[in-house]
Amino acid sequence: MPVETWLTFILGFMILGSIVALEIRDILSSIVAIGVVGLGVSIAFLFLQAPDLAIVQFLFEIFALIILVRAFVKKDYHIETPARVNGFMVAISLLVLIAIFVSSISVFKLLPPFGQPLFETASHYVNYGTEETGAVNLVASIILDYRAYDTLGEVTVLFTAILGTITILRIRKGKDAGRKGA
């Protein structure tokens, strides 16, 4: 089977999975459904010849599932309350989204067709990457040599996010404990 058929199948599966994840009441089922969608992305990356990305996406999915389950699923985890659904708002937003989708079709027609990328900057990387950097894996040669400053920025963003997480989750006991001790 050609790649397009596989990808169409996987993408349809992912759309279905994300609708299930958003509409189901049970939060644990919802988190599991989002995990299925992420693993579908990982398989799609394999079909699109991106093995590095498939591995990273797989790891991301596992970590995200662990974080979400650890944070929100307790013994008495909550089930989304059957809120008095504002049907009018839902209908309006669905209509607007469908209108955006329909009007975007003409935009997507302008893109180069699937399977024929632009390949302008990247042709230099593909042709001279190994001689200039010595890396056999061209993705590694780009993130660690040609675009090393981007990677530095990425690490900075990641560090800031983790710093924020620790700051928010830290339990401020140090001061009180010191007072009690004194």
Binding site: G12, G38, A50, M89, P117, L138, I142
Partner: protein, 112 residues
């Protein structure tokens, strides 16, 4: 083009969840869906017909490789998404501890 449109539809499913859901966890999940759709779209854009992964092998011509540049940038984006998700989860945990509810319409009062 069908694939691009389906990817865009996945993104719009995420936007729909962001607009209509009130549960904090559902909002975090919709952001994750939007992230998946954008990453997948960039990689779809980089695919070249009958090409192989961008790792140099012995008897393979360099002209038959997929575009490595979007792959490198999406690798960065996936890692940042993990950090963002962790930050959102931390914020949600603190909000739930303070207000005892997951419903964002009930989180109104500002008190410190």
């Amino acid at each position: 083009m069908t694939l691009y449109l389906m990817c865009f539809a996945l993104f719009l499913v995420g936007v729909y969840g962001l607009l209509t859901k009130r549960d904090l966890i559902k909002i975090i999940l919709s952001l994750a869906i939007m992230g998946y759709a954008v990453n997948l779209f960039l990689i779809l854009f980089a695919y070249k017909k009958d090409a192989i992964f961008p790792i140099l092998l012995k008897n393979v011509a360099q002209s038959s490789m997929v575009d490595p540049l979007p792959q490198a940038l999406v690798l960065t984006s996936i890692v940042i998404e993990l950090g963002t998700t962790a930050l959102l989860v931390a914020l949600a945990i603190r909000l739930v501890q303070k207000y005892k509810t997951f419903d964002i319409t009930k989180i109104r009062r500002l008190f410190g």
